[in-house]
Amino acid sequence: MSTLTAERPTAELATRPKAPKRRLRGESKLHPLVWVFVVAVMAFSLIPFYWLVNTSLKKGASLAQGELFPSQPTLENYLVVFQNPEFLLALRNSVIIAVVTTTVALVFASFAAYALARLKMRRKAMILTLILSVTTFPAIAIAAPMFSIWRDIGLYDTLLGLIIPKLTFALPLAIYTLTSFFKEIPRELEESAYMDGATPFVAFRKVILPLAVPGLATTAILVFISVWNEFLLAVTLTTSPEARPVPVAIAFFSGTSEFDQPLGTISAASVIITVPLVILVLLCQKRIVSGMTAGAVKG
């Protein structure tokens, strides 16, 4: 027991079933350097937010000088954004796209995930590998041909034309996350439903689905955020404000040249669409963490 090697603890660990999560380190006896690191991490995470809000509250000279605190804070930029019909249209488009995609993905994914988590099935490993591989597709590989196909059949520059390809990326994310949630529901519950004469599908609908509501909610949040965030398909497959979602609208807000940007307004628009998501993350922090680590699929 004197030398310390990597192998020994690994071997020992393999024979040990489950261990409590708590570390042996005592609470709040941190080295001062650790506190420095805590503060640094907080600053790194928060300062960009501060600067974005700060920029959104400035106009004219105050903006041009880059004041660290706005000497004359103004909400004018926000007014400009809310009076911009293209921004409002983009907001509407994003909400429709994200809600429809999330709902449809959740319905189909919950079926698939249940089958993959619980039912006997042939070639399960292959199917899962296939689904996982879809998440590694670069969106541009889909976007290029979709651009041509959609132009030919009239789906180019429409909301439906965006929802369909986004669904392809939302589905595997939802299936992976849901599969791990379904696995956590105790098996005995279905067994007793079977005893009562329920078919597997009835057991799924009446017993498992209601219990999976927290998992479904978590998955919905993750899918919603990722669809809301998606940019490449959105910019390739739309051309008019009628179909453009928020990220594209904001990206094109920036004007043509680097030097004549309405920086204040862009920042205000950015703050407006960030606030709801930040609130969502604050409220559902635990869920998002468990969902991200459960599916272990891209954020």
């Binding site: 310390l4 090697t5 603890p9 020992e12 660990l13 261990a19 708590r22 570390r23 042996l24 005592g26 709040s28 805590v38 907080m42 928060l46 960009p48 600067w51 700060n54 041009a64 000088q65 880059g66 660290l68 698939a112 089958a115 006997k120 042939r122 591989s133 597709f137 670069p138 541009i140 590989a141 976007a143 290029a144 041909p145 651009f147 392809t168 589905l171 299936i175 791990s180 949630f181 696995k183 956590e184 067994e191 079977y194 597997p200 965030n229 940019f231 910019v235 990220p247 990206a251 950015s270 669409i273 960030t274 998501l277 930040v278 993350v281 991200m292 680590t293 272990a296 891209k298 954020g299």
Partner: protein, 326 residues
């Protein structure tokens, strides 16, 4: 936490999930058949959607890439074989984009893994305010990538940005630089924006891996008189390896597809064009569907090759993921 099942050798579940041991032998075969049928019906819709919207377009992209086809010529297309690929592979643009994408991925993923591991270790400590730290760390994840790009752009604006401002006030170098107007600086901003937004993701995956290391292992190390550093290098890091590899795979795949950050920050100027951006430019701005498709297929192949290499050499655990999930 399903991450446990993603890590090899330590699955508390898995085996018992496979069959349904409590069922009686009499009903098993009939139920098996019913289950298989139901399983097929339940997975089919998702598989069909994904096949239609992923496989079919990729097949069509391959066909388009073998043709000379431009939106300008109103659909007139001419079969040219591998000409588009040969032109792309002989072009300076493709190799620049290829190199820049890998440079970006290498820099951002390694920074994210180092910072992510440090953050995970921090979040794993028991201290007052851990919950606050966890929430704060997660906030950049809530911001959309385009906004993240805009945020970093505002910080590096000449004169009006926070960073340029502070640097020039302190008389440090970099204060008078047009950050997004020069190659090295522009790349640095793009990397920082990516690190800021996605380190939380890496940190959470690594934290989940950290939490399955048992306390006894650490107790044993302490009894052996290991220093904190020895414990970290000899126990924590090796046991954390699968989680770090997993985070590396997801982050690398994402980084190789990068599009939004260079699109918003530089529009691809100053040698920051990524593979996806180059394909997009040919397709949308130059209206060359054949060339654009060839470039997107090349991007697709590059990402595929890298993921295969990863799974083969770096991450035996991804194969275990598939096995565990059975």
């Amino acid at each position: 936490m399903a991450i446990k099942t993603l890590l090899p050798g330590r699955s508390p579940r898995g085996a018992p999930n496979r069959g349904a041991p409590t069922r009686t032998a009499k009903t098993t075969s009939g139920r098996d058949r019913a289950e298989r049928k139901l399983a097929f019906r339940m997975t089919a819709p998702s598989l069909v959607i994904m096949a239609l919207v992923a496989a079919v377009p990729i097949g069509y992209a391959i066909w388009l890439s073998l043709n000379q086809y431009s939106v300008r010529t109103a659909g007139l297309s001419r079969f040219v074989g591998l000409e588009n690929y040969i032109n792309a592979l002989a072009s300076h643009e493709w190799w620049t984009a290829f190199g820049q994408t890998f440079l970006f991925a290498g820099l951002s993923v390694s920074l994210e893994l180092i910072l992510g591991t440090a953050m995970a270790l921090l979040l794993n400590l028991a201290f007052k305010g851990r919950a606050v730290l966890r929430t704060v760390v997660l906030l950049p994840y809530a911001i959309i990538t385009v906004v993240s790009a805009i945020t970093w752009q505002t910080m590096f604006q000449p004169k009006m940005g926070l960073v340029t401002n502070v640097l020039s006030t302190l008389g440090l170098p970099g204060g008078d630089v047009v950050w997004l107007g020069e190659h090295g600086y522009a790349m640095a901003v793009i990397v920082m924006a990516d690190v800021w937004k996605t380190t939380p993701f890496a940190a959470l995956i690594i934290l989940a891996g950290l939490q399955v290391i048992s306390a006894e292992t650490y107790e044993a190390a302490e009894l052996d008189g290991a220093s904190k550093w020895q414990t970290f290098v000899n126990i924590t890091l090796p046991l954390l390896r699968p989680a770090i590899v997993l985070a590396a795979i997801f982050r690398t795949m994402d980084a190789l597809r990068v599009f939004d950050l260079p699109f918003v920050l530089t529009r691809g100027a100053n040698g920051t064009e990524s593979m996806s951006m180059l394909a997009y430019t040919q397709l949308r701005e130059n209206r060359l569907v054949g060339e654009g498709s060839a470039l997107s297929i090349l991007t697709f192949l590059t990402v595929m090759v890298v993921s295969v290499i990863y799974v083969r050499f770096a991450g035996g655990n991804i194969r275990d993921v598939a096995k565990e999930e059975q």
